[in-house]
Amino acid sequence: MRKRLRERFESTADLIDSVISKFVLLLLLGMFVVINLQIISREFFTAFSWTEELSRYLLIWVSLFAATIAYRKGAHIAITFVVKSFRKKQRQIIKFIMDLFSATFFITMIYYGFKMISMETYQKSPAMQIPMQVVYLCIPLTGIIMLYYVLIEILKFNFREEESK
């Protein structure tokens, strides 16, 4: 029963992951075009006022979304040589505890991310005049995705096996 549930979660995660990697490509290409535009407009015409701001916001979005892919892959930089020296069961317990702590951080990103958004009702970006509420969305959104990924990892932990042994 739990296994089937986990498999369903995993396949949803795969879907999210592949959508995000297309989104990351799109955002990066966008940033690439915008900065080229900035260079061309400044060198040959008059500089646009919005290119610098837009590329900064794109950088934040693309970085956070790419970070969720890295998180799923387990690619984020970590010290692994200590944990590797433990036995398998101890390793699983340590990972379980660390995942719980990570989950609290993602919950902070989500809850206080939305709180920050609710505090910025009238704030608009200086150059493009887009509501900052939209720009700030990237933090709680990526928090939700990483929380989902870490919950799958937490589900993998097998309590019953620990009890029986």
């Binding site: 260079i39 693309v62 956070l64 979304f65 970070a67 890295a70 200590v82 951080f105 990103m109």
Partner: protein
């Protein structure tokens, strides 16, 4: 809470999370979040600092320099540069070793990360080194060490991060990277040549100008990359971020239309791959800003500076201590993490004894370059080991003389500008 308690709590929780394998970016965020909670500080600081931590045009250089390096290292560019360098150096015995070093130095001008530099040189040279029966362990160690020059000779992602944290000038840091990078290259090549002449390696042919010209003509497109990047920055025409984007423009043109070694499909794949690599650094910068906020709020760097200065005020001793801290950190941590965690802590101390921000940035970069070849956490050794299949332990043994030479360069880079301040531009 007093600064001392905050410092102690922050670093114990952070070290525990780290040792137990939590990703550094999340460990730094979680330990900061615990301190904020205990200090009764509104937690909305967390998303605010995370956002502000990445909100900088200068940081755009990070993904694009990584991308330019990845685009150029996958494909023919590094092989063509190697062929050209070999035609220049083939009169030496054991020529492939200095070729590896010089190729790494040229590629350092294209790539902003040492891992990409190492991968490019290893990919191009290892098959040839194997075919000509060069000492495998030493060759691997040499390529790993030469690859570390990737972050010392500009462009350099760690220097961009350092400049972002300390407000030092990126172009000044870049400009001052050439001499230390060259010193590292010369030191490594000298050790390799000594070994080659002692063990009577083959080589020592005559220089062929026809060959030099022929290889130069095809390699020129790759060789132009550093000139385009650095020319743009040093002429003041483009910001480093814009130069990074221009480098990507150039890399795409070269691989699609000149060398024709990639299609759009490959470029899209490399873009996503590079962005994921860049996101590791970006996410870390983002969460580390919460950590930096805590350090500043409780004036922890001032506390540390005063603590150290109460023990000794001899600037030569203090800078030696800083070098040691950075080298030891380099054994256990990865480059970007050290820059992001240690710079805010040590910068005040270094400047209080009269080290200029640019000089300290160079010291830090060279020390961290060495950290890339000191196991267990040594990205360059892993990259080379991945290409050659030789285990890390074996490469590390051959690494020792090279490591000592690099430490010698670090000492020169640390002390010479303290005695002759004019050599920092």
């Amino acid at each position: 809470m007093s600064a001392g308690i905050v410092f102690l709590l922050l670093f114990t929780t952070f070290s525990l999370f780290l040792i137990f394998g939590m990703p550094i970016a999340i460990a730094i965020g979680t330990s900061s979040f615990i301190i904020l909670l205990l200090g009764k500080i509104p937690l909305v600081i967390v998303p605010q600092r995370m956002f502000a931590g990445m909100d900088s045009f200068a940081l755009i250089a990070v993904p694009f320099f990584i991308l330019a390096g990845d685009l150029m290292s996958e494909g023919k560019t590094s092989e063509l540069i190697m062929d050209f360098v070999e035609s220049l150096l083939s009169f030496l015995k054991g020529a492939l070793w200095p070729v590896a070093v010089l190729t790494a130095m040229i590629f350092a001008g294209i790539s902003g990360s040492s891992a990409a530099d190492t991968a490019a040189v290893a990919g191009a040279l290892i098959p040839e080194l194997k075919r000509r029966k060069y000492d495998k362990d030493f060759s691997s160690a040499l390529i790993a060490s030469a690859g570390s020059i990737g972050i010392v000779i500009p462009p350099s992602v760690p220097m961009i991060l350092y400049a972002f944290i300390t407000y030092a000038s990126i172009s000044k840091l870049f400009l001052n990277g050439f001499i230390p990078g060259t010193l590292m290259g010369v030191a490594l090549a000298a050790i390799a040549l000594r070994k080659a002449y002692k063990e009577h390696y083959a080589g020592g042919g005559r220089l062929s100008f026809r060959n030099i010209w022929a290889t130069f003509k095809t390699a020129i497109w790759g060789l132009l990359t550093p000139i385009i990047i650095l020319g743009g920055i040093f002429s003041g025409k483009f910001t480093p971020s814009e130069s990074a984007v221009i480098a990507v423009d150039w890399a795409i043109i070269v691989s699609l239309y000149i060398y024709r070694d990639k299609r759009w499909k490959d470029i899209f794949r490399i873009i996503v791959k590079s962005m994921i690599t860049a996101s590791l650094v970006m996410f870390l910068i983002s969460t580390a800003r919460v950590f930096a906020w805590i350090l500043a709020n409780w004036s922890i760097p001032t506390m540390l500076t005063n603590g150290v200065l109460s023990i000794s005020t001899n600037k030569f001793v203090i800078i030696l201590l800083i070098d040691l801290i950075l080298l030891i950190a380099g054994i256990f941590l990865e480059t970007a993490s050290i820059i992001i965690i240690f710079t805010p802590l040590l910068f005040g101390l270094a400047t209080s004894i009269g080290i200029s921000p640019v000089h300290f940035g160079i010291i830090e970069t060279v020390a961290l370059a060495i950290g890339m070849v000191t196991p267990p956490v040594a990205i360059n050794l892993y990259v080379v080991s991945g290409v050659t299949g030789i285990p890390i332990e074996q490469i590390s043994k051959a690494e020792i003389p090279l490591l000592l030479a690099l430490i010698g360069v670090l000492i020169l880079v640390t002390y010479l500008p303290m005695i002759f301040p004019k050599i920092i531009f």
